[in-house]
Symmetry: C2
Subunit: 358 residues, 2 copies
Amino acid sequence: METGEHQSSLLMEPLPGSAARPAGSPARIADVAARAGVGVATVSRVLNGHASVRPSTRERVAEAIEALNYRPSSLARSLSLQRTMVVAALLPWFTNPSAVQRVRGIVDGLSGSPYDLMVFDIESEDRQRRAFELFDRGDRADGLLVVSTLPPEPEIDRIRAAGLPCVLVDAVHPCLPSIAVDDVAGGEIATRHLVELGHRRIALIGDPPPEFRFEWSRDRTRGYERALAAAGIEAREEYVREGTRLPHVARAVASELLSMTERPTAIFAASDTQALGALDAARAHGIRVPEELSVVGFDDIEVAGYVGLTTVRQPLLESGRRGAQLLLEALGGLSVEPLRELLPLELVVRSTTGPAPR
Amino acid sequence: METGEHQSSLLMEPLPGSAARPAGSPARIADVAARAGVGVATVSRVLNGHASVRPSTRERVAEAIEALNYRPSSLARSLSLQRTMVVAALLPWFTNPSAVQRVRGIVDGLSGSPYDLMVFDIESEDRQRRAFELFDRGDRADGLLVVSTLPPEPEIDRIRAAGLPCVLVDAVHPCLPSIAVDDVAGGEIATRHLVELGHRRIALIGDPPPEFRFEWSRDRTRGYERALAAAGIEAREEYVREGTRLPHVARAVASELLSMTERPTAIFAASDTQALGALDAARAHGIRVPEELSVVGFDDIEVAGYVGLTTVRQPLLESGRRGAQLLLEALGGLSVEPLRELLPLELVVRSTTGPAPR
DNA sequence: CATACCCCGGAAAGCGGTTTCTCAAGCCTC
DNA sequence: GAGGCTTGAGAAACCGCTTTCCGGGGTATG
């Protein structure tokens, strides 16, 4: 008796055709094949419109697919094909206004292409690690857009080793193509504007030091210092502050500045978000803008227009679009050199800057 | 001679250990196993901390992993495990402010959980179809959050058939748990506010008819009509307009309203975005707000505070957070009934509404 | 000294597809 | 009517990992 089921395969084989599976689980290609009375290869051929399948056979397969409400597993498909038709965008703080704008550009640049976009948040160190674990082998996505952050060095190695196309947006690395702006120049433009308005006591609110290896805030600071030097103004350490972009943090930092005995007459914020915090703080202190205090931001996010914020505009949307285009080219087989592409900056003067108070 | 290589496997086997592969491709588990002189099963055991592996063996494997810079393919892993540790959020217009806010809530609700979030845009019909093709079998993500849209009916069937946990946010369906607000009540609140200020000629700017099976705009319209009826005000068809949320569209629609011979004294916009468009249009027409025109929005997005827009606040962030929580519960094995959870609404009066002009 | 048991670790069977290889028909031509 | 070519379709290898199953070698026990 026992020996009767030694191999078992012959006994089990006939079953899987119909209701043999846990019932809850979706149909597999084998189920379809069984129902249509053909081999799995044929079903696959029908699915992918490959080669020649006799119309009558195709019909039978189509019916089986319909009847079983079958849809191939995109995961298994990707594994087999070594291709996902997905590109991933990895970005920290992906809910902040400028990031959103870049994503919008990416969506735009990808529209019409056969690739789908997956956006991945890497708010924390932990998520960052996990994001790269998911994507750096290139099996979850065919291409990567890394926005406003730099992958850890080992990840860069892995990405290059895997031959995974990757474009940086708002970040720069010698080994990878990137879309960015000249942050030093940007810092200079903003600061020079203030200098030309007669300001001498100019403060700066920057981002905290490189979490996520994020360096542009430092570059903007360098531009700020350079512009001050050019105007023969002494850079005062106590006028340079750092804080995250969280609204209340930015406000608190600005508030400190405005509480100083010799308070600045102008503030250059490394982002519009922080500039808005500064405006808030000024209002709270009863300081009039721009009569008593000038504020310049950076980015030109949508709100900036609404509140009349003077700012350095960078083409956020364009950066995403361009990054997507570059990535598509790389995916299309064109070899993209680690080119550093710079987008233009532009001072947008609105109503938060004015002549220095005398 | 020919017969010598009949099976080939014995001849080929020894090679894959080292440089046999295309060189560009990342190491596989077999490569690690070969280098460590163990079987793949052992490598897997080491990777997953499973069962007992002799320390010395573990060490050898670890070295091989290190040397080859190996990382398991998350794709293959998911296929084998039938689990991805990823939840997907599908949403249309995911770059619009209220959606962003909800996503922020989702991120928040998921933080601390072992699940990663993938955000997927379904701007167009096409993308929507593709998104569900990717996710409805549950092999790309373990759970779904569908935001501000309703999956097509066949997709809902498939999702349920696959036993894929799915929570709706800002949308309602009898078969799925959902987080939403009472849009009818919301429309009523906004409109009643205007009525109480003495307005009689109250216009409405709503969303275009159900693309993506999106119905709340209609509900808000119903609330608007109900409030008018309650006040004994005749609903005038020409005061009810529709348009997308694109800034210039909203502005154009509002502009039409403001050009009417008997123009409305108040506008209720079905979203803040559209309300902002209306404010823009008013400015262009030289119409003072709120003296000559009152405007009420819906959502209370961040900008609303900055520009002083009166609006009906819905807990955007909370909706995302709650949705994520519900999904996590479902993923944890708790059976979540298709419960319709309603979040509270609140009128926020700022400076764009005032007494009707006499 | 032989037997039982435990600890390790290898072989192999999935997971759900795609694709190559191979072979059986069917058709055409000479 | 036989041989070559095309067409159609199944078997099996493969994508890269997990896990079950099973056997070999060591130690403890009778």
